[in-house]
Symmetry: C2
Subunit: 381 residues, 2 copies
């Protein structure tokens, strides 16, 4: 994998990743293909929306259908019929957020499967080996995620474990196929000096790119922006930077302004399933009675299939009736919206107009009164 930095505008960056499965233009948003599928969307839907890379969750695939099965069937790309790039996480975040019973030791983490109650063990070596078996283009070392807030002591102990695991992961990765890239993950909770220390020590180990983990877990938004900015300043300019699990459209713009290149979040697909549609004028909730007779599409000028073919009135009808088609159509729109926002940012950075873009976007996006929060998890994603 190679990364070229094509342009900068302030801290904002326009870049290009070249992977074994095609080019990825950055800043990029990665739709989340939790269990080898982006919920309700087909690979062709993702391609039509402009996606060059998707994320898949090691934790979920390990539990079902298992990485050996996927490897036997030719790897994750063939399994899910997606020939563009795939990034996998290490499984650490889901062990932390989804497995009720888990036990962390120096060796790794033991956890109970929520599917069948079986005990599983994940070590840094095993996590990397699983990601190699899946054949992801970008893989991650096992890390420990702490709940917010955490004491300084707990955070320090945790980030040191994450750093030792990062070293072991790097060693395991060197035994794998050369085509796969390994990113380091910067932890450090909400303590600025620990974040800075984690950034320096992760960079010292040396990785193909750098993820910022453990963000958007409950800390105030200004803290997230500030920590992101301070970590990004430390990361090497010639490597991609990935802010894990973020975020809302305004978060994406603010993080790009601070030098982040890559993002992922279940927001566009999960909130679509609850009827929330993103637009440049802020989100709208399709079930509102005011859309019952509206012939207009969700977003004027949006090139997605939902907007080209259907009225708000029809989509509202499908949503009220619980018709399965609507989940796909709204997901398609939201993913298209997120990917167009990234394309607009890339163009703004390339033309040196990111500042005015950011101002214009924020002013217009803020008009909506709809509360955007990540909807509660109703299904695993």
């Amino acid at each position: 994998m190679t990364f070229e930095l094509l342009a900068t505008d302030g801290a904002a960056r326009r870049g290009r990743l070249t992977t074994g499965h095609g080019v990825v233009d950055t800043p990029v948003f990665m739709p989340v293909g939790t269990r080898a599928a982006v919920k309700s969307l087909s690979p062709d839907d993702l391609r039509d929306a402009g996606s060059q890379i998707v994320l898949a969750n090691t934790y979920h695939l390990l539990l079902r259908p298992g990485h050996e099965l996927i490897q036997e069937l030719g790897g994750l790309h063939r399994f899910m019929a997606w020939d563009r790039a795939i990034l996998t996480d290490s499984g650490g975040f889901q062990v932390w957020s989804l497995s009720k019973l888990r036990k962390v030791s120096e060796e790794g983490v033991e956890f109970r499967s929520p599917i069948d109650g079986a005990m599983h063990f994940l070590s840094p070596e095993l996590s990397v080996a699983i990601q190699h078996a899946l054949g992801a283009d970008i893989v991650h070392p096992l890390d420990e995620c702490l709940a917010y807030p955490a004491t300084r002591e707990a955070t320090e102990r945790s980030l040191e474990l994450t750093l030792r695991w990062a070293q072991r992961s790097r060693a395991e990765h060197r035994r794998g196929p050369a085509a796969q890239a390994l990113f380091g993950i910067v932890q450090g909770g909400s303590h600025a000096d620990l974040r800075i220390r984690a950034a320096h020590e992760t960079v010292a180990l040396g990785f193909d790119g750098y993820a910022i983990g453990g963000m958007a877990v409950g800390e105030p938004k200004p803290a997230m922006y500030d920590l992101t900015e301070r970590v990004a300043e430390i990361l090497p300019a010639d490597r991609p930077r990935y802010l894990m699990g973020v975020g809302k459209p305004d978060d994406l713009v603010e993080a790009v302004a601070r030098g982040v290149d890559m993002f992922d979040c279940v927001l566009p697909t999960r909130n679509a399933r609850n009827g929330q549609c993103f637009t440049p004028d802020g989100p709208l909730v399709i079930k509102h009675a005011r859309y019952a007779r509206e012939a207009a599409p969700i977003e004027d000028g949006c090139p997605c299939y939902a907007c080209r073919r259907f009225s708000r009135a029809y989509l509202r009808h499908l949503f009220m009736a619980g018709e399965l088609l609507v989940y796909r159509l709204l997901s398609l729109h939201n993913v298209t919206f997120f990917l167009r926002l990234m394309a607009d940012m890339r163009e703004a950075v390339a033309s040196g107009a990111f500042g005015p873009f950011r101002t214009r976007f924020s002013a217009r996006y803020a008009v909506s009164s709809v509360d955007v929060s990540l909807d509660p998890i109703s299904e695993v994603d």
Copy 2:
């Protein structure tokens, strides 16, 4: 609407309907777009599967979102973004099967909405007027459906009411747009002489086509085949014949052999959502462990998107994980299978080879041990 009979082979017929929304080659299977959407499929999916016509349910659209709203938004074709032909039923069957509280009088039928408990009244005139407002290409008169079994007396009383309603519907229809066709519905329960009487009297009234209603409601299969054959013999050769709500692949072949031209059934989409996939070797149940590592598609040589792109192993994984994408993929496959079966029958009739086709199909299709029944209604369709 015009109907041309292009070829016959025994009682089997190859024909062509020309509607205000394109040509419909018969024998034809109509996917069911219950509430202005064929469950989980988009209009483009239906077009890719080869569909020239879909059915929509007057009863469901009357209750939600209402025919006035659909008319205000330009009619059903524009509302659901489907520019090919649409056939609507009268609502009678759903009043009978879905509304717990209903009261039939000479004037019409009063029933309670299962959505909000509101009382509604449907008369023959209103049913036709609603279907005109929707803008369907083929509409139907309100009819009464009887449960099986029913006494001779009850059946006779009921079919006489249906015939009086058919006359009123025809009168109302003549006040509507000329582009819409009105089919008559032959009732008569499982009493052969009453079926024959109903067929003669419906034909005497004169309609653009003839539906055979109240079949596949519990009567033995030989009785259904026999009654269909005897009714079809009476219907005029120059008008299309439609066997309502049928059916399974082998039923389609047997009914075409008896002179039927049109069919509809929720089977391909409803059973898809329960993991049942139709193939020339009979249906298969995707969740079976034997498919866990199968790289083959559902059906070799099937041109549908699910078969061109995905393995049985991947589809099984999606089904076991409850991923929304799988409902669309299996529905797409099943609808494609039904439409290809009809295309094969059209070709067999046109080339005078329907007999051998029927023998070959039955022998091969019967090998599966999977029980095909219409799965219970989990949602309204």
